[in-house]
């Protein structure tokens, strides 16, 4: 009986890439290997029988090596797709990426065309799903102005999209200081005019920080709500369609639904 080796890695792009590097160089044979990302939910309760669990410490140098070979041997586009999959909430993404790369390093840049392959197809779908959420949030994020002029926003996305969403607002609001908080992950992206934006862990995330709002903030929120209510045509009211286009899970963070 074969013993399977399961590499357990951090739930991050670097963690997954490190595990892929180590798995690859172990030369155990791809079918004897699995990579699992640590997730808060699973808590080791589903250990597989006849398997060795090997924890992997994230190593940025190894991770960089994997990134570089994906870009060189497959394509920049494939690299971006893989990164978005790594940011998704798909359980089993680490192993999926591993399988995708096995194919990719064999096929080269044609891998992305191979949509009839289950692995490629799954990567394609997850990638699209992440892109959809990013696109939704570009519109659905709401900023409120604090007394000191800072713009703040709290979101609760399914996927870990802060790093994909923030550049859009940096380009859009170059002269504004803003913070976008991911309430699910206790992460925040921070932009200060005239310098680089960063993502920081905020374990003590204060979701009440939106309370110290500026003098005019209430007024503009009311104006926005008034506009939102009056722009709907009563004869065409269609909550189903509205829900289809704007899923309920976004509404908790949106001014006009509060």
């Amino acid at each position: 009986m074969h013993t399977k080796r399961i590499y357990l890695c951090d739930n991050s792009i670097d963690g997954i890439f490190t595990a892929i590097y180590i798995a690859w160089s172990s030369r155990l044979g791809h079918s004897n290997i699995k990579i699992e990302e640590k997730s808060e939910g699973s808590n080791y309760s589903n250990l597989e029988l006849f398997s060795d669990y090997v924890p992997v410490d994230t190593d940025y140098d190894l991770s960089m090596k994997v990134s570089e070979s994906i870009r060189k041997k497959i394509s920049e586009e494939a690299f971006e797709m893989v990164c978005r999959v790594a940011l998704s909430d798909y359980v089993g993404k680490a192993d999926l990426i591993y399988r995708f790369l096995i194919l990719g390093f064999a096929m080269g840049n044609q891998i992305l065309q191979h949509l009839s392959n289950i692995t490629v197809n799954t990567v394609f779908k997850i990638n699209r799903n992440v892109n959809f959420e990013v696109h939704h949030l570009l519109g659905f994020i709401r900023f409120s102005e604090q007394a000191n002029g800072l713009l703040t926003s709290v979101i609760h996305p399914k996927n870990n999209v802060l790093s994909l969403v923030t550049p859009h607002f940096v380009d859009r609001l170059p002269q504004e200081g803003f913070i976008i908080c991911d309430g699910n992950r206790k992460l925040a992206s921070i932009h200060v005019p005239g310098s680089q934006w960063i993502i920081a862990e905020v374990p003590e995330l204060n979701l009440e920080m939106g309370r110290d709002i500026s003098f005019m903030e209430d007024e503009y929120q009311d104006l926005w709500k008034a506009f939102f209510d009056h722009i709907a045509i009563q004869e065409r009211v269609n909550p189903k369609l509205q829900r289809n286009n704007l899923p309920l899970r976004f509404r908790g963070d949106m001014t006009e639904f509060q």
């Binding site: 191979h114 570009l138 519109g139 709401r142 104006l223 008034a226 722009i231 045509i233 065409r236 949106m254």
Partner: protein, 482 residues
């Protein structure tokens, strides 16, 4: 008329967004522009929806009227001069500040400014121009702006506005000149078409000036231009030379002339035009006037005017939906109006979307082999859209596709299955026979989309004696005794 000077900004916003809600051309797409470090804002060509109102429509722009005072008396318009409604006007400062503050909070993608006619077309256009100038030059706003060109305004003002905005629209209001005469006595077709032509020429000139070739959309290359446009006024305006732009002094800021293009809208179901007439007009606008979008707006009798059709059954939303579907076929699928409708079948099928309807009348062209057919042939298969067709073309480079593969690739087969083969085989042994396929397609639930089925009465009937059902509203929409 009482104008309340002391009206609060909130009250004005309520009145003037209420008055603008029937306008449909509210998209923020068509232009990609990076932000600049000195100002605020950028735009994405794909457009961004910022929220969805209770009627399910996308809100991407602050859509308001500058004023709902109007010297015109169009029968279908809530703001017509003979109506007794509360009137309000913004100031250019108010609109520009509101836009900036909403934009900062990411409520909106930009401004959509329309207006009633205050004092005169020129006076109104000057106010709009001043608003947009404040936004671009004082507030350094770099986001999306869409403005109405007011018919009858001086071409100089239209030209100036074109340098500040991303998209302009000139509303056709009604599909034909006769309807316009009946329902909008102060407007005339030529006055509407003139600025459309002017903006088209302005865009062409600018593209030539900066050395861009004209990236026209696909259908124009496929569809041959038909010379027999029945609309005389359209032809007359088309023949106007490019000498129409008399004034080309640009504003100081570096921008393109109406980069996101021109759009227009027509009210559907207020007058007696058939779908065929409406689509012919739309096609002529796409082919000859370089329009980016034509919007169709299901008529609602907001004035309860007896010269207008009653809308007890609700607005003709299904008809509007079918027109948008057909419009899509013109713009992205290489169809022509003549293929979809003709004098004998002047209206769209209520039960089937235009592409299914077309396919059933052309069964001799099916089934189509998924592994061989070219892009435009794939696009003609019901159920296969531009995304699916592109995915098929991509995927079959590395593998021979079967039905399982198509499913996995997210291609919806419930309609397509009657029209395609994979490797020469159909998914089920299907007899390609009109009655059978029609019956199957009509049974699909999503033929009538979400929430717009109020105005259809389902009946038990033998469907296949006559596939072209009478459209229920065509009988009631006669415009009587003006």
């Amino acid at each position: 008329m009482v104008i309340q000077e002391s009206m609060s900004l909130q009250r004005k916003l309520e009145i003037l967004s209420d008055a603008a809600k029937y306008d449909v051309a509210c998209t923020s797409s068509g232009v990609d522009r990076k932000g600049n470090s000195s100002g605020m804002g950028n735009s994405l060509a794909c457009g961004i929806c910022h929220t969805f109102s209770a009627d399910g429509r996308c809100i991407s722009l602050l859509k308001i009227l500058f004023t709902n005072e109007c010297i015109f008396d169009c029968k279908y318009c809530i703001n017509r001069s003979s109506n007794d409604v509360v009137r309000a006007s913004f100031t250019p400062q108010e609109v520009s500040e509101l836009t900036m503050e909403f934009y900062r909070r990411n409520y909106i993608e930009g401004l959509f400014l329309s207006s009633g006619i205050l004092v005169s077309p020129n006076h109104t256009m000057e106010l709009i121009l001043e608003t947009v100038r404040l936004l671009r030059e004082v507030h350094q706003f770099n986001g999306y702006i869409h403005c109405k060109a007011i018919p009858g305004a001086d071409p100089v003002l239209v030209e100036m506005l074109g340098w500040y905005t991303d998209r302009m629209s000139v509303n056709l209001e009604l599909p034909t000149a006769e309807s316009l005469k009946e329902l909008a006595p102060h407007k005339n077709r030529k006055n509407i078409l003139k600025p459309i032509r002017q903006i088209q020429l302005g865009r062409q000139n600018h593209r030539e000036y900066i050395g861009l070739t004209d990236h026209q959309m696909l259908p124009k290359q496929i569809a041959s231009n038909k010379p027999d446009k029945q609309d005389l006024e359209m032809n007359e305006v088309l023949s106007m030379s490019s000498g129409i732009v008399p004034y080309t002094k640009k504003p100081k800021i570096k921008r393109s002339f109406v980069p996101a293009g021109l759009s227009t809208q027509m009210i559907i179901g207020a007058t007696k035009e058939t779908d065929y007439q409406i689509m012919s007009v739309a096609e002529a606008l796409y082919d000859n006037f370089d329009l980016k979008r034509v919007f169709y707006s299901a008529f609602m009798n907001v004035n309860q005017d007896n010269r207008l059709p009653s809308t007890e059954a609700g607005p003709p939303l299904l008809r509007e939906h079918r027109l948008y579907q057909a419009d899509w076929l013109l713009r992205f699928y290489g169809f022509q109006t003549m293929e979809l409708l003709d004098e004998q079948h002047p209206n769209f099928n209520v039960l089937l979307d235009p592409k299914c309807d077309w396919a059933l009348r052309h069964l001799e062209m099916f089934p189509v082999e998924i592994n061989k057919a070219d892009y435009y042939t794939l696009l003609r298969v019901p159920g296969i859209g531009t995304n699916s067709a592109q995915r098929i073309i991509m995927a079959r480079k590395s593998a021979v596709l079967d039905f399982q593969d198509l499913k996995r690739m997210g291609i919806v087969l419930k309609r397509a299955v009657y029209f395609i083969t994979c490797n020469g085989k159909m998914m089920y042994p299907i007899n390609i026979e009109e009655n059978f396929i029609t019956r199957q397609l009509v049974a699909l639930k999503d033929q009538i989309p979400l929430g717009i089925d109020k105005d259809i009465t389902y009946q038990q009937l033998s469907l296949f004696d006559d596939v072209n059902f009478k459209i229920p509203y065509s009988g009631t929409s006669m415009v009587a005794n003006i």
